[in-house]
Amino acid sequence: MPPKPPMPWPALTAIAIIVLVLATAFAWAAGWIGKDRLTAPRLVDAIEGGKPYAGFRRAHSKGVCVAGYFEPSTQAAALSRAQVFSQPRTAVQGRLSIGGADPYALDAQARVRSLALLLKADNGQEWRMAMNSFPFFSVSTPAGFHKQLVASRPDPATGKPDPARMAAFLAEHPEAKRFQAWAKSAPWSSSWANTAYNGVNAFRFVDAAGRERFVRWSMEPQAPFEPLSEAERQQADPDYLAEELRARLRRGPLRWNLVIIEAAPGDPIDDPSQAWPENRPRHIAGVLVLNNSQPQATGRCRDVNYDPTVVPDGIALSGDPILAARAAAYSVSFNRRERETARDQAPPATDVTMQEVAR
């Protein structure tokens, strides 16, 4: 028998190193190493705060499904070549909700209200929007948002956020003070229907000639503002907004104007925490009409991810880091709740209602 050749250690070592380097790079890209790096799953973990509600959206967890249509104005087609602005009517399904991660929160106590929409044009292209009642976002970066979540987490001892940590966060992110001032002073309206919803993030509208302009948009209610007093808020039913909405819809459809606001050169287009000056050009691009609502657990909005980066040809994204982070976080949230729904961990609609009645 011939003697066994010696093991070729240098070659084997080189191969092992190459494989190891690639595997490490892959693990880093996947966010498995570097525990202090903020990734989409870690941001959603912070939103859950250790208390995920199976089957529910991780943010804006409580809401109702709505449906209706969108009709563009005559000037809309000049702003963007998106087909929703040129076809006479586009079917819309969407969701009205309140801010926060608790699907059993009290409707009337929520400072933030939200409107999410999915418009599907006849050419199959979709425009998904996720708008909020605040006029600007609280922070300018995802890292700042994460710090805010951590700073506002209740202290187990007191049940309230630690004032020292909150102060430290505000010192580091002074832009959040603007948001706090809005939360303190903005009047509370009596309905989802008489609330304005703002896109907050900037987008690019592309017209038929390929010209681009940076825009933000808002849905401004046609229903007149009616205040909700402090006393009414405290005494309101847990599902106050949903019930009020149902009552309104029985009287007729609800309308909002889609207002497109154009940026001027130099306006912050990648910082949603900064409002644009009031005198920017505004165009009414159409009317949103909502004519029915369904419970979110059985309605069509339940299994839709209202990812605001799903845009049709004619609308493009800006470099706003919060916009990108919303897409990433919503996707993680969607994957988690759809997995829970598939495993039958999500309570059916009737259970949600019963739990709320019992409170």
């Binding site: 190459i18 892959f26 799953p41 980066t309």
Partner: protein, 196 residues
């Protein structure tokens, strides 16, 4: 054909081109799931690249059928030969399955499947949360499996190149035509700029 025991030019082009694409896809895939900043950009790349890999894999299978690859060395131990065969078919299976799973998964999640510009793909399956959850899980797990398989494939190829030196790596790395050796003249008279 492989008269020289080599893969032909198209087979080599497809192999190395797809090596780059598949590796890029795997990193883009895990990167876009984790990243808060890059997701919109990476997912816009991920979808059309996935469909490109699906189409290229079909071209490659057709080409492989028309022009069979060179045989493995006769002295390769039987378990290694079996592992080589099995891993190659698994690689093909995953290169076909991953894009189809991704496409189906987006359809089941109720997402549109845009490609480039205004071009988009039709839904492969109905919008269904249970189906989505299953497909999303499979797309992730098989993605990790594909990465592991690609690493093993790479390690085995380098083992052939550096340890066994049996021509298996060369069959994919080189054309197989007799390589032009430097003539005595060029050795005797190097180009002036190489001097000194």
């Amino acid at each position: 054909m492989n008269r020289h025991g080599h893969f032909d030019a198209l087979a080599r082009l497809l192999h190395w081109g797809m090596a780059v694409l598949v590796m890029a896809m795997l990193f883009v895939g895990v990167g876009m799931v984790a990243s808060l900043a890059l997701r919109p950009m990476l997912i816009e790349l991920h979808r059309p690249l996935g469909i490109a890999i699906l189409l290229l894999a079909l071209v490659r299978l057709y080409h492989r059928w028309r022009s069979p690859p060179p045989p493995l060395p006769a002295d390769l131990p039987r378990p290694q030969a079996l592992a080589a065969k099995a891993s190659h078919w698994l690689l093909y299976a995953l290169m076909l399955a991953m894009p189809l799973l991704g496409w189906s998964m987006l359809s089941a999640g109720g997402y549109p499947v845009p490609m480039v510009g205004a071009l988009r793909l039709p839904a492969l399956v109905p919008h269904d949360p249970t189906l989505y959850a299953w497909l999303r899980g499979a797309h992730g797990v098989l993605g990790y499996a594909l990465f592991a398989l690609v690493l093993m494939h790479l390690a085995a190829a380098l083992y052939h190149a550096w340890v066994r030196r049996d021509g298996v790596f060369d069959a994919m790395a080189r054309s197989g035509r007799p390589r032009s050796m430097p003539s005595n003249e060029t050795v005797a008279e190097p180009t002036p700029r190489l001097q000194d």
